[in-house]
């Protein structure tokens, strides 16, 4: 369950000007739901995802995930929360291009100091799930956009988190790869994961797997 209460988020620009990205957002996402946040660029969709992932803190208001007030979490607890509960697929994937597919995917596990066997098990699960076993040792910078996205999704799922957040996931993909991504979403939803997608790609609108579409306009829910 994800709940945003009266969220206001302001950014400082150049250290002087203040831009209000979110203006009193209230949002409730049930467990297992797939919600699409739609709206133009700069409307505040990505900011909402950032707040849910505890990547930033709201200026005011509360973000509650599975009963925890994550907007109040100290930095290290926020990191733990992301590690265990959130799988974030970034718009530009945010992979480390000079690392291999395998190294990128297991990156969230590195600080956990797990047994090698545990890591291998988790890795092989996501490699199979997202059909990238054959690319395991390739450098990410040598992959196509679609392949890079699958690596990003695999990394987001390595810890089998309950919540998947995807920010403009099809912005850099052609239609065929975008449809493939939607297939992946179907699989994740079938596993019971809570999914929030921020997009302005019409391909997502009216999809039968989407439970709700929420339009964001200039920092408010329309």
């Amino acid at each position: 369950m994800i709940e945003l209460k009266e969220i206001i988020k302001e950014y400082q620009v150049n250290g002087i000007d203040t831009v209000m990205a979110l203006r009193g957002i209230n949002l409730y996402v049930r467990s297992g739901e797939l919600v699409v946040l739609k709206g133009a660029s700069g409307s505040g969709k990505s900011t909402i995802l950032s707040l849910i992932a505890a990547l930033s803190k709201p200026t005011s208001g509360e973000v509650i995930v599975n009963g925890d007030r994550i907007s109040k979490l100290p930095d290290n607890f926020a990191s733990d929360f992301r590690r265990h509960s959130i799988g974030f697929v970034f718009q530009k994937y945010n992979l480390i291009p000079t690392l291999s597919v395998k190294e990128n995917i297991i990156l969230p596990l590195v600080p956990m100091n797990l047994e090698t066997r545990d890591i291998e098990d988790k890795l092989s699960r996501v490699l199979k799930m997202f059909h990238i076993e054959h690319k395991e040792n390739q450098l990410v910078k040598n992959l196509s956009g679609g392949e890079q996205q699958r690596v990003a999704i695999a990394r987001a799922n390595i810890n089998n988190p309950q919540i998947i957040l995807a920010d403009e996931p099809t912005a850099n993909l052609d239609e065929k790869l975008s449809l493939h991504f939607i297939d992946i979403l179907k699989e994740l939803k079938a596993e019971g994961k809570t999914i929030v997608v921020a997009t302005h790609d019409p391909l997502f609108f009216g999809l039968n797997i989407v439970d709700r579409e929420i339009e964001i306009y200039q920092g408010s829910i329309v």
């Binding site: 990547l55 930033s56 970034f90 690392l99 990156l107 596990l109």
Partner: protein
């Protein structure tokens, strides 16, 4: 239960360094050079200080020289008897010695004359006397002298050119082992008779007189009595010599200090450059790590390993190179600054002096500072909101 050292983070740190291999190599290279320079300076300084201390310690309490018009002249041996009458004087020995310039090699040898039945004023001379054959002109020579003579095909004897142009053949009887290498390296020991012949010195004269005083606290008093007896003499105490050596050392160490300051300055420029910020790529990487669940301390631990690997490797490289440079290659160029007279003196080996304090000092001047310079900017980025860094 996993052990506490997270090998995956270390592996990540190593990979991270390898991903920027040119930069890593460059920084490691520069750091190694700086540690090498600093270590070389410290090693040479320590070795020479040790040599000087040993040399000064072995000196007699008082040396008396005859001075005329500000210059050093040979002294009458008759003075010896009067000095021995002074209360507090334990012994007095007339020394016969001088410098012999060997033109072929462009070096000076220090020739010291000894008498077979005389009390020796240095322990090393007691052994030297045993190696001398007083029945014929023979000598024992320092290691440096031996090498030069060998190089010039004087393996069994040497022909000294006397002031009148005639030759004096002296057989090489063996190697002279002094208390320090600095002392013994350029020394030739032979009978006083042979030295007098080579330097054309009268039998009633000596180069100077060395005096031993039984009670160390009376040295100054005895010295002033000698000065009163012989106003035309220069009376040098061990303390004067210590100061004089220290002055020469301090003057020359100024050059070392300059090198030391330049090395440190360069190091701090690197540190400042590193500490003043990260590239956008590095910031982004930290943001990604935070976004996927790394804690601030995970990021800092990884950066610590990066800094430690580079700085400790450089430290070890620098130390090993400096040890090889100073004690195997004999510190070419740098050693000459200190030993001086480089054109005239025979080369000598620096004694191996390696104390933990020096190693610790160099360690603390390099490793922790570099690690801090690696961690601080990373800490600044890691404590920002991850969203702010990766946007």
């Amino acid at each position: 239960m996993r052990n506490k050292i997270n090998l995956y983070v270390i592996e990540y740190a190593i990979n991270s360094l390898l991903r920027q291999k040119y930069k890593t190599f460059f920084v490691t290279f520069i750091l190694s050079i700086l540690v090498f320079l600093l270590s070389s300076l410290f090693f040479i300084t320590n070795s020479i200080k040790y040599e000087l201390k040993s040399t000064v310690d072995s000196l007699p309490e008082i040396t008396v020289q005859k001075i005329k018009a500000g210059r050093h002249y040979d002294i009458d041996i008759s003075v010896l008897d009067e000095i021995l009458q002074i209360t507090g004087v334990e012994s007095a020995v007339a020394r016969v010695w001088g410098y012999y310039y060997f033109e072929n090699a462009g070096v000076n040898f220090s020739i010291v004359g000894l008498d077979e039945y005389e009390e020796q004023y240095k322990n090393s001379f007691v052994e030297a006397v045993k190696g001398l054959d007083f029945s014929k002109p023979s000598m024992v020579v320092g290691e440096g002298v031996k090498k030069i003579m060998d190089k010039n095909y004087y393996r069994e004897y040497f022909n000294f050119i006397k002031p009148d142009g005639t030759l004096k053949r002296v057989d090489i009887g063996g190697l002279f082992k002094g208390e320090t290498e600095l002392e013994s390296n350029d020394v030739i020991v032979m009978s006083k008779e042979s030295v007098r012949e080579i330097f054309d010195m009268e039998e009633s004269k000596a180069t100077d007189i060395v005096v031993r005083v039984a009670n160390f606290n009376e040295v100054a008093k005895v010295a002033s009595k000698i000065k009163l007896l012989y106003p035309d003499s220069r009376v040098i105490t061990k303390d004067d010599l210590k100061i004089s050596y220290q002055n020469i050392f301090d003057y020359k160490s100024g050059l070392f200090l300059a090198l030391f300051v330049v090395s440190l300055f360069t190091f701090f420029i690197i540190v400042y450059d590193k500490a003043s910020g990260l590239s956008s790529e590095q910031k982004r990487e930290i943001g990604i790590l935070k976004a996927i669940g790394w804690r601030v301390n995970d990021v800092l631990r990884e950066k610590f390993y990066e800094g430690f690997i580079v700085s400790f490797f450089s430290y070890m490289m620098g130390i090993i190179l400096a040890l090889a440079f100073v004690y195997i290659l004999k510190a070419p160029l740098l050693q000459n600054i200190f030993t001086g007279y480089s054109q005239l003196k025979t080369s000598f080996n620096l004694p191996f002096v390696l104390d933990v304090q020096t190693l610790a000092l160099i360690f603390f001047l390099s490793v922790p500072i570099y690690i801090a310079a690696t961690i601080i900017p990373s800490w600044r980025s890691a404590t920002l909101e991850a969203d702010e860094v990766i946007r």
